[in-house]
């Protein structure tokens, strides 16, 4: 049985990334769904960039932007005492950007298909915009949230190129499961590669199965 630390690290990275993106991606998706601003297509294009760019390109830019010599990197070192590159925090920052479209696009389309009608009804029933968001928009868009969270989580688990560029291969710190498998293959340790690959396969299937099973359940009214 090989070392499972890379698996736990991948799960931690995917979990933290998903939570951060729920917090950052929701307002962005909301804005994109409701704005009539002219810069909307620009923001949409930027949001979708990680879908198109090779992960190595993103990773390369992150390496440049987050390095200890830059303003951001230096600031991070001042505050936390640790560098952003080749650290878990750096992986989170990179993953948040890399997985952004997987959070924003399902949420945006959920908000768009819900439309303004329920929000207007809530407003005429004295619900403030924030209240209406949590008590009406979130429950009505719950499928969008589930889809967005699952896609973000799964996509982050499968990350390779960005992680390798920004994080390298430091055991316990940045060696996530995809990198560990790559390394096992490189060193011809096929048994360990088999193990980790199988674990990842079973895990991915189980999560997706649970989500689809749950989705049917969620369709039932919750109030």
């Amino acid at each position: 049985m090989p070392d499972l630390a890379p698996l736990w690290l991948s799960l931690a990275l995917a979990g933290v990334t998903t939570v951060v993106l729920l917090i950052l991606g929701t307002p962005l998706a909301w804005w994109l769904a409701h704005t009539s601003s002219r810069i909307r297509p620009v923001i949409e294009a930027v949001t979708a960039l990680p879908l198109v760019l090779p992960p190595t390109v993103l990773g390369f830019y992150f390496l440049i932007i987050l390095g200890p010599g830059t303003t951001i990197g230096n600031f991070w070192v001042q505050v936390t005492g640790d560098a952003l590159t080749f650290s878990f925090s750096g992986l989170v920052v990179a993953s948040v950007v890399y997985s952004l479209p997987f959070m924003v696009q399902p949420l945006q389309s959920a908000f768009e298909s819900m439309g303004r009608a329920p929000l207007e009804a809530a407003a005429t029933l004295r619900a403030s915009p924030l209240d209406a968001f949590f008590s009406v928009a979130v429950p009505l868009s719950r499928h969008g949230f589930v889809t967005a969270a699952v896609l973000t989580f799964a996509h982050t688990i499968g990350e390779f190129g960005v992680v390798l560029m920004v994080g390298g291969n430091i055991p316990g710190k940045t060696r996530v499961i995809s990198i560990a498998i790559y390394e096992h293959v490189e060193t011809l340790n096929y048994a360990a590669a088999h193990w980790l690959s199988a674990v990842l396969l079973v895990f991915a299937f189980t999560v997706l199965f649970l989500v689809y099973a749950l989705k049917r359940r969620l369709a039932i009214r919750v109030g």
Partner: protein, 367 residues
């Protein structure tokens, strides 16, 4: 009809769209149910949205009773206006049960005593049996009753109904008329009721505001508005008509008729289920269905003959017809007859005439 005194609604607003502009500068005295009537696309819903604060681009002034909702730089957002809005499509929250929808409104209606209690509102809209149901399977009529109840529980001071009956068939409409008509008295809230259906205006409203191409073109009692032939141009298939308020006095069961009293004179009209003696009905008679006679006719199939006095003759110069208004014991009945007939019978104001109403010409009354 309503015990509450009129409340003043002031609207001064101008909004320009590409193909349409709304331009309102009016003070409306709202009492009971006020109809907002006009052709589709005339701006009725836009005006309601301005009143409710749902149209944030609308400048100008909206004041209700003593409160300014918008004026100069002031804009009270929709959720802080004491106004209830029932949408044409009900807009119930699909993730909540019927009771959940009602409580959503009650929970947000502010502190202090609730004027409209949960039980009272559920009672008024007859929702007891629906409370635990999900909203997805409600019928159109049920959805609208829930939507109205939900809005009442937000304790509004003004209730806006935006074509709430448009999706209902005639029978369902008739069931819900008395419920809506009773709301102003029961809960002390004036209603603005939007529709382009003449029967809904006749059955529900006491006064009517006519909105056409974004402007208020007429404002008067329902009887007056519906008797105007001038609306013909703007409202498709509009005919001048008359509204008769009658009381049921006798069931003529074997004939499938009921005898009703109209200010001392008697009429027989087709009966329908559930009409009790003593019930007040509002009858709608199209002017084109009314026949006038200068002598009491004999040997006619028409059984309903009322006597009255001509008060005015309004010839339409662009057609063969004139609208003749007849005072019948203080109520006005309008007859649309040819100008030729006016001359042949030598009709003029002050002349006594008989008004003939075919039983089949009565629009099915809303009890």
């Amino acid at each position: 009809m309503s015990a509450s005194n009129g409340k003043k609604l002031t609207i001064r607003s101008r909004i320009d769209y590409a193909d349409f502009s709304l331009d309102i500068d009016n003070e409306l005295q709202l009492k009971g149910v006020t109809g907002l009537f006009g052709p589709s696309g005339g701006g009725k819903s836009t005006l309601l949205r301005v009143i409710a604060g749902l149209n944030q681009n609308a400048g100008g002034q909206v004041s209700f009773a003593e409160t300014d909702w918008q004026k100069e730089s002031l804009f009270v957002p929709a959720h802080k206006r004491q106004v209830g809005y029932v949408f044409q499509d009900a807009r119930l929250f699909e993730h909540l049960s019927v009771a959940g929808n009602l409580r959503f409104a009650l929970d947000r209606s502010g502190p202090g005593e609730k004027n409209n209690s949960f039980d009272d509102v559920v009672d008024a809209l007859d929702l007891h049996s629906l409370l635990n149901r999900g909203v997805a399977k409600l019928s159109g009529g049920e959805r609208q009753r829930v939507a109205i109840a939900r809005t009442m529980l937000s304790q509004p001071e003004l209730l806006l109904l935006d074509e709430p009956l448009a999706a209902l068939d005639a029978d369902r409409k008739r069931e819900i008329y008395p419920t809506i008509a009773a709301l102003p008295d029961r809960f002390g809230v004036p209603i603005i009721f939007v529709s382009h259906a003449v029967d809904e205006m006749a059955q529900l409203t006491e006064s009517v505001v006519v909105l056409e191409a974004g402007r208020i073109v007429a404002e008067a009692s329902t009887e007056k508005i519906l008797s105007r032939d001038s609306l013909r141009g703007s409202i498709q298939a509009f005919e001048a008509m008359s509204v008769l308020d009658v009381t049921v006095v006798e069931q003529l069961e074997s004939l499938h008729l009921v005898r009703v009293d109209h200010r001392g004179q008697s009429l027989a009209i087709p009966s329908h289920a559930g009409v009790q003696n003593g019930a007040a009905l509002r009858l709608l008679v199209r002017a084109g269905d009314v026949v006038l006679a200068t002598e009491k006719p004999q040997g006619l199939s028409v059984r309903n003959i009322l006597s009255g006095t001509i008060t005015s003759i309004d010839p339409n110069p662009n057609s063969a017809f004139a609208v003749v208004s007849v005072d019948v014991d203080g109520a006005v009945i309008n007859a649309q007859i040819t100008n030729q007939a006016v001359q042949a019978l030598n009709l003029q104001s002050g002349k006594n005439v008989y008004v003939l109403l075919k039983a089949a010409s009565f629009d099915r009354p809303g009890a």
